[in-house]
């Protein structure tokens, strides 16, 4: 067993998964990831770069990915905002990479050392145009470790950027974790002659090519065909590209959208939460049960793609759904779209964790 903070657990997960390029710019509360990488990557013969800003960081990550890297960056809200144009480029060019976003209180500079969960919609809709993201939401050091590793596998499998959305609490929370859990080491695709951007008619995965293999690759963020040739006024090409980068996720949404259920079978009140708020929710659930309230918890392990079926399937015995999150109701809106019971928010934007007693207060109110 190890005793690490969430940020360090992200580092360990990334290194074990085969991360061999890290590019970033310092930003609280993610900085420990970068400083650890600065030491560990060269020790392991891997590449670390500190760039001049977050725009350059994600650009370097994408460039390295096309050179063959399992590449990653780490940032927080203001940095994520700067990265968005190039993250959209990674979606459009089907470039695998991992973005760890340690959420802090915003908007703008906000409270740099304080937690929030206000970036979930930035990950979902921050880039212009249509795309379907994957965003994992660890609630512990153990999950920070495992999910960061898994992000590399998902990025490679779906050929896209994958977000790990942690928050200041999980990032700086020290706890024991098992680093010996089996981690999938990401394998590089062998060279092949398939078109780099897939079959024109399907969203089947194509192996990720790389520079220096004589492929004469054309990589562009402009709308392109399966060989990367720009097709900037062709309606068919535009439809094909957007379908390709969205359908691959829609198709697998049910398996990608992982959740964890606690005492939902007889629940009359269902808490829905994720990340650090999920921990408070679990504590609140346990206390409420001791008080005789039939409360359950559905924890979202991925915020994107959204577990809409799981929300829809919340049973008829549930009278109220309480969404617990450190924002003004971002995921609540998403829950409302699919829930069959009334949805209530338990929100806090104070730059502080939501305490179990605050959740219990909401539970008591909706029970009255």
């Amino acid at each position: 067993m190890a005793y690490l903070q969430g940020n360090m657990a992200c580092v360990e997960g990334a290194l074990r998964a085969g991360c061999d390029f890290f590019g970033a710019y310092p930003i609280t509360p993610s900085t420990e990831i970068m400083t650890a990488m600065a030491r560990r990557m060269p020790e392991m013969g891997r590449t670390f770069v500190q760039m001049e800003d977050e725009i350059a960081s994600i650009a370097a990550v994408i460039g390295a990915a096309w050179a063959g890297a399992n590449a990653m960056t780490a940032t927080s809200g203001p940095g994520l905002a700067l990265m968005l144009e190039n993250i959209g480029y990674a979606f459009a060019t089907e470039t695998p990479c991992v973005i760890v976003d340690v959420q802090r209180a915003g908007p703008s500079t906000g409270q740099a050392t304080r937690p929030a969960q206000g970036d979930v919609m930035t990950a979902r809709f921050g880039c212009p145009g249509d795309y379907e993201p994957i965003a994992l939401a660890p609630w512990s050091a153990q999950e920070s470790f495992e999910m960061t590793a898994r992000a590399f596998a998902l990025a490679r499998e779906y050929r896209m950027p994958v977000f790990v959305l942690t928050d200041e609490i999980i990032a700086h929370l020290y706890e024991t974790l098992d680093l010996d859990r089996e981690i999938e080491v990401v394998e590089h695709d062998p060279p092949c002659d398939l078109p780099p951007f897939g079959d024109a008619r399907t969203c089947e995965r194509t192996p990720m090519p790389k520079f220096g293999e004589g492929r004469k690759l054309l990589v562009t963020g402009s709308t392109h065909d399966e060989r990367g040739r720009r097709r900037t006024t062709d309606p068919q090409a535009q439809m094909r590209l957007v379908e390709r980068i969205t359908k691959k996720i829609e198709r697998d949404r049910k398996t990608l959208a992982e959740t964890e259920s606690y005492m939902m079978d007889d629940a009359e009140i269902a808490l829905v939460s994720y990340g650090a708020s999920g921990r408070s929710s679990l504590a609140a659930m346990t206390q409420a049960r001791e008080n005789g309230r039939k409360v359950g918890l559905l924890r979202l392990k991925n915020v994107w793609p959204f577990a809409q079926e799981k929300i829809r399937d919340i049973g008829g015995g549930v009278k109220k759904i309480v969404v617990v999150e450190m924002n003004c109701g971002m995921m609540r809106r998403e829950v409302e779209r699919f829930a069959r019971a009334e949805v209530v928010g338990c929100h806090k934007v104070a730059g502080e964790i939501i305490r179990p007693d605050e959740i219990i207060e909401v539970i008591e109110n909706v029970s009255a």
Binding site: A59, G63, A64, N86, L217, V219
Partner: protein
């Protein structure tokens, strides 16, 4: 002097180019390919990175090599990632003045400061061409553009001086009106170890020349010949020129 056949370096499907009549970017493309041929470069081991704009089209889609056509202003940052991960690849950025020194100026000075081992070729046509002719940070004072209809009230960047200030190891400027010199300069840049910067003064008849008393390709080429003055790095820094004249040559080629 015979000119090598460079067709093998081009994607035939991308020819003829989409460049306007009188655009100097085709000359730069040709000179770059001749330089690559004369140096007997392993073309499959080269990566060409560009941003957004007319000059970003010089490598992508014309060059039959690995090309990374990125976002506006960011090709140097992308190239830094490619080079850091695969130092064995020859990484060349070819993009315009808008990309390299306006929106992307920060990446330029940092790559120079770091002495990143890439070659940056900036095609400077002194205007935003692809969006129809707006003022760039390289538009000379007084020039007419769509966003400076009364004449540009601002000064322009001397990008060579800028990167010299950031201690770039190789800095040169040449014009598309002097292709033999341009080939020599590009060859020297491509063989330089460390960061190399080549400003290529190009021509945009459509959106710059026509609005500034140079309505034909001939007039623009004549203007480049008339205004360029052979100079050294010391001249560049200490003896500023007036009347729109500018120094050309290799201003430094020492260790970065």
């Amino acid at each position: 002097m015979s000119v090598p056949d460079v067709k093998k370096y081009l994607r035939s499907e991308a020819m003829p180019t989409l460049f306007c009549t009188g655009c100097g970017h085709g000359i730069l493309l040709h000179c770059l390919l001749i330089a690559i041929d004369e140096l007997k470069k392993d073309y499959d081991n080269m990566v060409f990175v560009s941003g957004i704009g007319c000059a970003a089209w010089i490598p992508s889609p014309h060059m039959a090599a690995d090309t990374l056509h990125t976002t506006h202003g960011r090709p140097i940052a992308y190239a830094t990632g490619v080079k850091a991960y695969r130092p064995d690849l020859d990484v060349v950025v070819v993009s315009g003045d808008g990309d390299i020194v306006s929106i992307g100026g920060n990446h330029l000075i940092h790559a120079a400061r770091r002495n990143t081992d890439i070659t940056v070729i900036m095609a400077n046509n002194k205007v935003y061409g692809m969006t129809g002719g707006q003022q760039a940070s390289t538009t000379p004072h007084g020039c007419i553009t769509l966003t400076t209809p009364q004449g540009n009230p601002e000064r322009d960047f001397d990008t060579c001086r800028l990167v010299l200030g950031a201690d770039a190891g190789f800095v040169a400027r040449e014009t598309v009106a002097a292709p033999r010199n341009l080939i020599k300069v590009i060859k020297a840049a491509l063989t330089h170890e460390g960061f190399a910067f080549v400003e290529t003064v190009s021509t945009c008849v459509t959106h710059f020349g026509k609005m500034n008393g140079m309505p034909s390709p001939e007039a623009m080429i004549a203007n480049l010949k008339e205004k360029s003055v052979r100079g050294t790095g010391t001249d560049l820094l200490t003896k500023p020129l007036e009347d729109g004249r500018f120094y050309t040559g290799i201003f430094t080629s020492g260790a970065g």
